[in-house]
Amino acid sequence: MSPGYQGIISMRNAFFLGKGGVGKTTTSAAFALAKARAGKRVLIASLDPAHNLGDVLGKKLKDKPLKVEDNLDALEIQLSAWVDRYLKDSRDEMKETYSYAGALNLDSFFDIMKYSPGTEEYAVLWAIEHIHCELSADYDIVVYDTPPTALSLRFLAMPAISNMWITELAKLRERILQRRQVVTKINPASPVASSCVDKDDDKVYGRLGSIKRRLALLQKLFSDESFVSVVINPDDLSVSEALRIKEELERIDIPFSAICVNKRGMSKAPWSLDDRLAGIPAFYFEFKPEGLRERDDLMKLDTHDLADAFDAAAAEGIR
């Protein structure tokens, strides 16, 4: 993967997070459609392994952008394909590097890696990186319909967590290279002298640097170039989850830009937004008892105020 972030600084992204079933896909699709019909070139991408964006937009989607209507393209990321692609790259590189790889039964090892903690989160990050680097230049706005909270928070936190590891590993690597330099200088006949002693030549140090750069750019994308909305329903469960999301986003320094209260009026029970969410701009979407059957029905959800908030945030550089 070769990130090509240069020149995409003004790109604006909208992420829709929330508990499963609150209406993330509907809200994000309504937002994307409204923006597209207002003349912006919009790409909407579903990162949820259980896709239903295609159903909402009334079009069968693939993992490449397909035109839904004028100004609106959509795609559904196939996470399993991203995992397979990445593992294949690693497997090929391993086979090239280790002459005895054939004896290691690598295939079964890599099959297990699919289920390793972190792999799915990284697959989401690679997919976002791909959209950001390879596709976003053709659009004014990229809207992300995310998986349910647990996976979303893990992939959003992954750059920050990985970065801590990379920083410490890079420090350790520097110490190793320093010791190698000393040994090589004093005793050029030492076997150590045949290994890399310089940071610029050391492939491991170089790889750590490239991972760090990729993660830093993703972190910047989430923190500085994204409008993060959390979708809730007027019920206690989704509000509790929104509070957990707020806490986690604060911890990893990602802005909580808006709350979308979806299906307002579905229940007659009295309800008000929790005080702890009071400082965040809230946007309300009425419950439609007749349902949203076709793409045009999405326009019944009034996203004007949300779109204005997005534009205002984009204009002032998100934060």
């Binding site: 390793s116 903690p117 590993l169 350790l172 190793i176 000393v182 040994v183 030492s190 991972i211």
Partner: protein
């Protein structure tokens, strides 16, 4: 005479090399330990130790042949690290 000078040079060379080896012995020991720790940190997830996310290990793994060899050779005296240290310091 020339042969004698050559032999003396060779002998001096050996003495110099021995001294160089002795001078770097401790640093090389520390270096191997650092390389061992580096690999253990990256590979730790495979044996149940806290480690960076597996995909980071996957990215670095193809570049760690030397470090993996060191880690495997270090495991030979993992049962007796003090003995190895005493041997290095020539303490009986």
């Amino acid at each position: 005479m020339g042969k004698l000078v050559d032999k003396a040079k060779a002998a001096l060379g050996i003495v110099r090399q021995v001294n160089r080896e002795r001078a770097t012995e401790m640093i090389e020991f520390e270096l191997k330990e650092l390389e061992n720790i580096f690999t253990l940190l990256i590979m730790g997830g495979f044996v149940g130790m806290p480690s960076p996310p597996a995909p980071i290990a996957m990215e670095l793994l193809p570049l760690l042949e030397r470090e993996m060899n060191i880690m495997l050779s270090r495991s030979d005296f993992a049962q007796d690290p003090l003995g190895a240290m005493m041997g290095l310091l020539e303490i009986d």
